[in-house]
């Protein structure tokens, strides 16, 4: 029977040590090697110079859908920073560390001294090896990777290939330096640890997979926007949304589009509404604080029925909050944020592939339903990488969603005419015979300001009916594993759903009657389907990365008994083990 691999590798260093770069190389090399890979970086909020950088890669021979809590291999590029990672080490975890630091370290402050006795230690003189091989210590992160490959029995050619790919464009000297640094570490560990490596985890050789790429959620969103025919991107930099702008700044002009850095987020959403008003697909991406600034104009889009695509890449909040930590605490803001009854579409992908497909879809939805569509992601989803087959959108997915008025309405065009679905055909400026007023004031079917009780009632109903009718085009909640009766049903959204899925799978392997429900359309909600699922469950568990239980607040009333909330605000991804524990507690009656 083939070995089942499920290993989490962590590279930890100080900003500037190259920990993030090393992690990216691990991800790509092992992806090529045929493994399923999910990687996630954690770095300081400060721009550069100090702070701990950690990159974690979970590598599996079967599909990996979430980040685990434990680390099996820790590669330390800075022992002072790596000390904080010790509590996360699994039993018999391997630790690769600098064995010849520049100065002596007293026992009381020694990283190695703090390691529990069950850990397998692989000290390497990283700086010395890199220096001897290349004349400089800069490549010591690559030297550590060489040691990792040697100790874990990974074909070094996989790493050499990805190093060549990464550094080829930087010239022969840079490429040579990095390859030599890697080789020095590989040779040292292969010789020094020829015996000890037998006790380390050995990666089996799998069939290579060259058709997959490492893609982050943000990259997938950028690619999706391009494939959807994006013409204009307006934005203001903010973590963790900035990589979308960076990606598009490089790629969009090549396709004839433009990226404009605006003076702030208000200007960005204003420009997006202006572009869509004129018929051009446009987009902006921001995070919590920026999204807060946008809310008035988002509701302007709702009122004036102008399409917009807004990515809200959530981070820890409120206010400036935790810029480089993950959280799912903007759900209420995304669904309800802003003045008035301003229903809009909110869609939340749960993995990288969905980041692509739902972003593509959001343009069509925005056009068809003439309303802002919010793609709600979070730091963990934006920054994590998965190895996926390069996504491609179908012609049906990218098709223009605009509903234009018929010729019969020429000269007597009612921009906001009341219809069964709430959708009023929308003319673009310049279309002859379709003059109209678009305003943020309450208005008549023709768009003329009118504050009468009758008009406001009718128009409010129209706008909400329109959003409700969008359900037909929005992805339905998906049930994973179906029994008629369930002891626990776990409902997840966004990046947390991967943890929900893994926890459910694991619990079912233990014989528990558990199932998962994935909700991606958060506004409007498929309440009938959600309620149908809930009715089959003795307990409904809703794990979320927020304090208030924001999804639980939205769907809790659909169940005959209180849903069980499981909330975490540590700024880190939801560990599946926590959900598993809660499931078991519920089934065994230890928690309510």
């Amino acid at each position: 029977m083939a070995t089942v691999v499920d290993i989490t590798v962590e590279v930890c260093g100080m900003a500037g040590d190259g920990a993030i770069a090393a992690g990216a190389l691990i991800n790509e090399a092992l992806s090529r090697g045929g493994f399923s890979v999910l990687g996630f970086d954690s770095y300081p909020a400060e721009i550069r110079g100090f702070g701990r950088c950690v990159t974690r890669s979970r590598i599996g021979s079967e599909e990996i859908v979430a980040m685990g809590a434990e680390t099996h291999v820790l590669i330390s590029l800075n022992e002072a920073e790596a000390r904080s990672r010790i509590p996360f080490l699994a039993h018999r975890a391997m630790v690769i560390f600098e064995s010849n630091p520049p100065t002596y370290v007293h026992h009381d402050s020694s990283f190695v001294a703090e390691l529990p006795p069950d850990k397998l230690l692989f000290g390497m003189p990283l700086s010395d090896l890199a220096s001897e091989a290349t004349g400089a210590t800069r490549g010591r992160n690559l030297t550590a990777l060489g040691g990792f490959a040697a100790v874990c029995g990974i074909n070094p050619a996989l790493f050499i290939e990805v190093i060549e790919k990464k550094f080829k464009s930087k010239g022969e000297k840079v490429l040579h330096t990095n390859v030599k640094s890697f080789e020095a570490g590989y040779a040292y560990a292969a010789k020094e640890y020829s015996e000890k490596r037998e006790h380390a985890f050995q990666f089996p050789e799998l069939l290579r997979q060259d058709g997959k790429v490492m893609l982050s959620g943000n990259q997938a969103i950028g690619m999706a926007a391009l494939d959807a025919g994006l013409k204009l991107y307006f934005g203001y930099p903010i973590t963790p949304a900035t990589p979308i702008m960076e990606f598009l700044a490089a790629a969009l002009p090549k396709k004839g589009g433009r990226v404009v850095q605006m003076e702030d987020e208000i200007a960005s959403i204003g420009a997006v509404l202006g572009s869509f008003y004129a018929g051009a697909r446009s987009m902006t991406a921001t995070s919590g604080p920026g999204f807060a600034l946008m809310t008035e104009l988002i509701t302007h889009g709702v009122m004036a029925e102008i399409p917009a695509v807004i990515v809200n890449a959530q981070r820890g909040g409120p206010a400036t909050g935790l810029p480089t930590k993950t959280e799912q605490s903007d759900l209420h803001a995304a669904v309800f944020g802003g003045p008035g009854d301003s229903a809009r579409i909110v869609i939340a992908p749960t993995n990288v592939s969905e980041c692509y497909h739902y972003t593509v879809k959001s343009f069509q939805l925005a056009e068809k339903y003439q309303t802002p569509v919010i793609v709600l992601t979070d730091f963990y989803l934006d920054n994590r990488v998965e190895n996926v087959v390069i996504p491609r959108a179908s012609e049906a997915e990218t098709r223009n969603g605009n509903v234009f008025p018929p010729a019969s309405e020429k000269g007597n065009y009612k921009r906001y005419c009341l219809t069964e679905s709430g959708i009023s055909p929308r003319a673009l400026p310049g279309m002859e015979g379709y003059i109209f007023t678009a305003t943020g004031l309450e208005h008549t079917e023709k768009g003329l300001p009118d504050y009468s009780p009758e008009v406001h009632t009718l128009m409010t109903e129209k706008r909400h009916k329109k959003i409700a009718s969008a359900l037909a085009d929005l992805p339905e909640p998906e049930v994973y594993f179906g029994d008629d009766r369930l002891d626990v049903g776990v409902i997840g959204w966004g990046s947390t759903f991967g943890s929900v899925l893994e926890a459910t799978r694991t619990s079912r392997k233990k014989g528990l009657r558990v199932a998962a429900l994935k909700i991606t359309s958060l506004s409007p909600l498929h309440t009938t389907i959600i309620q149908g699922f809930m009715e089959r469950c003795s307990h409904v568990l809703v794990p979320e990365l927020n304090y208030e239980g924001q999804l639980a607040n939205l769907i809790g009333h659909l169940h005959h008994r209180p849903v069980v909330r499981l909330n975490l605000v540590t700024g880190t991804p939801f560990p599946p083990s926590m959900i598993i524990q809660k499931i078991e507690d519920l089934i065994h009656g230890e928690a309510a």
């Binding site: 370290v105 007293h106 026992h107 001294a113 390691l115 006795p117 015996e195």
Partner: protein, 338 residues
């Protein structure tokens, strides 16, 4: 106020016995055990049975991790002491960590000894000192038919018999002068040969190995004083040498092992040595002697700890101390050959 710290160098029987005894003697001492190998405390004398498949790997190990936790003993595995500064009461680990100590027990055991003239062929020979060595033997034995044992220390005798029990062809070149540290007398050598033969081991006429050559992936050619022969695996069994190189310039009295008195004290206050790495003074002999074997190491570890805690126990050994070698009584126990 920080607790006083006793560091024990080693993780074998002497070191572990010392740690356990020390904890019994005193509850408020910070006890730290530093072992170079990554394995938990194991019984090396059971390795032949493990290689032969009559024991499971877990049977090798003595002390569960919970013991150290319960006894509040800090154990650090896979970490090597590179030197000891006795005047500053601190030692240095290979990764440049400085560990201060108030008391020290050196129980670092022995390292596999291969005669100098054979060291250039080291890569072609297997040894059997650790579970990692045993793992290599087990891997090699999956395809090997003929095994040649060189040397003739205590381990080799039980190992040869264990290999025979697996149905392999086992050949033995008993090098009498290599029965280290105990040279065999001609009479004892004859008796050992007879016993090996009765066990099904082919004891060869050769007495000296000149050269080893890798003929193919699984065939090694051995040139001896009586001609050429081949084997699939070759084992080197020349005993253990005290693992004390790191102490040579420390100021400690080191000959072949660490010189200690009959109470296992070194010349430094609160510094003791025990087990295979110690060379113990015997007042009756007026000379130093060395012990080998698991039980002796356990006993010495305990004695060192008791004395460190204020006792004055003497290591139990008489000039007429006797070892039992595969049923052969060896009536010498002191250092004879270096």
């Amino acid at each position: 106020m920080a607790r006083e710290r006793c560091v024990i160098i080693g993780n074998g029987p002497a070191a572990n016995a010392a740690a356990a005894a020390l904890r019994q003697e005193t509850s408020d001492l910070d006890i730290m055990l530093i072992g170079e190998e990554s394995f938990p405390h194991y019984r090396p004398h059971l390795l032949p049975a493990y290689v032969a498949g009559s024991l499971q790997k877990e049977d090798l190990f003595v002390t569960p991790a919970s013991f150290y936790e319960e006894c509040d003993i800090r154990i650090r595995l896979g970490q090597r002491v590179t030197h000891v500064k006795f005047d500053q009461r601190e030692l240095v680990l290979s990764h440049k960590e400085i560990v201060p100590f108030d008391a020290l027990i050196i129980a670092c055991g022995g390292m596999q000894r291969i005669p100098e003239r054979l060291q250039i062929f080291e890569e072609l020979m297997l040894t059997l000192k650790t579970p990692a060595d045993a793992q290599k033997w087990r891997a090699g034995l999956q395809t090997a038919e003929t095994i040649l044992i060189l040397g003739g220390d205590l381990t080799s005798l039980s190992f040869a018999k264990a290999l025979v029990s697996t149905g392999k062809r086992v050949q033995f070149i008993l090098q009498e002068q290599s029965f280290w540290p105990l040279p065999l007398t001609p009479t004892l050598a004859d008796e050992v040969k007879q016993r090996l033969t009765r066990s099904g081991v082919e004891v060869l006429e050769a007495s000296r190995v000149h050269r080893l050559t890798q003929l193919s992936q699984d065939v090694i050619e051995v040139e001896t004083d009586v001609g050429l022969m081949t084997a699939n695996l070759v084992g080197a069994f020349y005993g253990l040498a005290p693992n004390v190189k790191f102490l040579v310039r420390s100021g400690l009295d080191v000959e072949r092992g660490v010189l200690v008195d009959e109470n296992l004290r070194t010349r430094f206050d609160l510094v003791y040595a025990a087990g295979d790495c110690a060379q113990i003074y015997h007042p009756a002999l007026r000379d130093y002697w060395v012990s080998i074997g698991y039980k002796n190491a356990l006993e010495q570890g305990k004695v060192a700890a008791q004395n460190l805690a204020g006792g004055m126990t003497t290591v139990a050994a008489s000039p007429a101390n006797i070892f039992c070698v595969e049923g052969v009584m060896v009536n010498t126990s002191w250092w004879m050959e270096f």
